[in-house]
C-alpha cells in the first residue's frame, strides 16, 4: 500500500493548492484573460463551443486552452500516481442532461462557481446572489442525496474508453496552437472583440491550465463539494481550499489593481450605467441560475471543474457531463438565454423542473450488505 495520505490530501495541502489556483486565476486576468474571468469552466467551455461554431455569439468565440489543459493536467497526475481508472456506466445520458442544464443555469448568472468567487474577489457584488443560489441549489441536492438519490454505479471499462476524453482534449489543445482556418465563415472562429478576444498568451494559459489540472486532481479540489460536505457532515476540508482560492484571488486583485467594488462600475459620461464585466444586476436571475447549476452539479457529484478533472482520470460519465455543458452553452446562446437575455428566465425555470424531476425519480437501491 502506497503512502496512505499524501501531503496534498491534507488540510494544509488543499489550502496551499487553493491559494495557488486563486493566484493563478487572477494572474491570468492580469496577462489578458477577461476581468473576473481568469478561470471560468462555464465561460471557457462556452468560448470553445463558439470557436467550434456550435453557437453564433461573435463576442464569445475562442478556443480556450485552459479547459483541455485542465483535463490533460489531471490525466498526467492520474497516470503518474496510478489513479487512471477507465470507468463508465452511471447513467451517462442523465449526466449529459445535468451538464446541459447546469450550463444554462451558470450562463444565466454568467459564470461557474469558480468565476462566482473570482467575481466576488474582484468586487462584483452581483456574485453574492449567485453564490447564495449555489449554496441553496447544493443544499437541495444534498437533500435528494440523503433521500437516496443515485445515478447508479459506474463500472471499470477498457483503456480506450478512458482515453477518449483526454484524446479529444489533446486534439483541442493542438487546434488551439495551430489555429487552422478552414475558410471564410468557417471554424475555428475567434472573437475580434468582447470577452472572446481577451486572453492571456496561449503558452501561459496552457501551462497554467496543466498546473491547475494536476493539482486539482491530486487534491480533489471541488467548489460544490466544499459546500456540500459542510451541509452534509460539517466537514470543512474541501471548503478550506475553496476559501483559500477566494482569499488569494482577492489579495492579488488588490496587488494588481483589479479590485473594483460595486454592483455596477458607475455611470458613463452620457449617463448610461457601466455594468461590471460580463455581469448583470437582475439579482433573482443570478440567484435562480445558480440554484439550477448548484443542484445539477450536486446531483452529478461535483462542480464543472471537477467534472473536467474526473474526465481526465478516465471517468467517462464525467466526460458526458462535460459534453452536456458544451451543448448547453450552445443552446443557451442560440436561444438567447444567457445573462439577462429574453429567454433566460424561461430556460432556467425549465431546467429547474427537469433537474428536480431527475432528483426526485433518480433512485437506485444501494443496500448496505450484511
Amino acid at each position: 500500500m502506497r503512502a496512505f495520505r499524501s501531503f496534498l490530501a491534507t488540510r494544509p495541502g488543499i489550502v496551499l493548492v487553493g491559494l495557488v489556483l486563486g493566484g493563478l486565476a487572477v494572474t491570468l486576468q492580469k496577462y489578458g484573460n477577461p476581468p473576473n474571468m481568469g478561470i471560468c469552466v462555464a465561460c471557457f467551455t462556452r468560448d470553445i463551443a463558439g470557436a467550434l461554431g456550435l453557437h453564433r455569439a461573435a463576442a464569445v468565440q475562442y478556443l480556450r486552452p485552459e479547459i483541455p489543459a485542465f483535463c490533460l493536467g489531471a490525466f498526467i497526475a492520474a497516470l503518474a500516481f496510478r489513479e487512471f481508472r477507465p470507468r463508465t456506466g452511471s447513467a451517462p445520458f442523465v449526466r449529459f442532461v445535468l451538464g446541459l442544464f447546469a450550463m444554462i443555469g451558470a450562463l444565466a448568472f454568467l459564470g461557474c462557481p469558480w468565476r462566482a468567487m473570482l467575481r466576488l474577489a474582484g468586487g462584483d457584488w452581483n456574485a453574492i446572489a449567485g453564490l447564495v443560489g449555489l449554496i441553496v441549489g447544493t443544499a437541495v441536492g444534498v437533500q435528494f442525496l440523503k433521500l437516496g438519490f443515485s445515478l447508479g454505479r459506474s463500472y471499470p471499462t477498457g483503456t480506450v474508453a478512458g482515453l477518449a476524453m483526454p484524446f479529444v482534449m489533446a486534439v483541442l489543445l493542438v487546434l488551439a496552437f495551430l489555429h487552422p482556418q478552414a475558410g471564410d465563415n468557417a471554424a475555428l472562429f475567434a472573437s475580434r472583440d468582447g470577452p472572446g478576444s481577451r486572453h492571456a498568451p496561449l503558452l501561459f494559459s496552457t501551462i497554467a491550465g496543466l498546473i491547475v489540472g494536476f493539482l486539482a486532481q491530486r487534491t480533489r479540489f471541488c467548489t460544490v463539494g466544499g459546500i456540500r460536505d459542510v451541509i452534509l457532515m460539517r466537514d470543512f476540508h474541501l471548503l478550506s481550499g475553496v476559501l483559500a482560492f477566494l482569499v488569494a484571488a482577492f489579495v492579488l486583485n488588490l496587488v494588481y489593481g483589479q479590485f473594483y467594488p460595486g454592483f455596477t462600475l458607475g455611470t458613463n459620461p452620457d449617463g448610461t450605467v457601466r455594468a461590471q464585466y460580463a455581469a448583470h444586476t437582475v439579482h433573482w436571475l443570478n440567484f435562480a441560475g445558480m440554484v439550477l447549476a448548484g443542484l445539477a452539479f450536486t446531483l452529478a457529484g461535483g462542480c464543472p471543474g471537477r467534472q473536467v478533472f474526473l474526465s481526465g482520470e478516465g471517468d467517462g460519465d464525467a466526460g458526458m457531463f462535460v459534453l452536456g455543458m458544451l451543448t448547453g452553452a450552445a443552446v443557451a446562446h442560440n436561444f438567447l438565454a444567457v445573462g439577462s437575455g429574453p429567454n433566460a428566465a424561461a430556460m432556467v425555470l425549465a431546467g429547474l423542473v427537469v433537474v428536480v424531476l431527475i432528483g426526485t425519480f433518480g433512485r437506485e437501491k444501494l443496500p448496505v450488505a450484511r
Binding site: 490530501a9 481508472r85 442525496l145 452534509l232
Partner: protein, 72 residues
Amino acid sequence: MAISVDARGLACPQPVILTRKALQEVVTGEVVVLVDTMTQVYNCTRAAEKLGWQVTCTEKGDIFELTLRKQA
C-alpha cells in the same frame, strides 16, 4: 460478522453517505467499506475519523478495502 458497505463505482458523496449511515447504525465495532477510487478512500476515511473511527486501508487489485474500527 462485520457490516460491509459496497460503495464501488458510486459518485461523490454517496460512498460517504452510505458509510456514515452504517457507522451511525452500529455505533461501535467493525465496518468494512469497499471503494474503487482514491478519492473515495480519502472521503470515507475523513468521514469515519470525524465520527471517531479508526481506519486502515488495503488495496486488493482495483479495489480498496477500508476497515473501520471503534471500541465499545
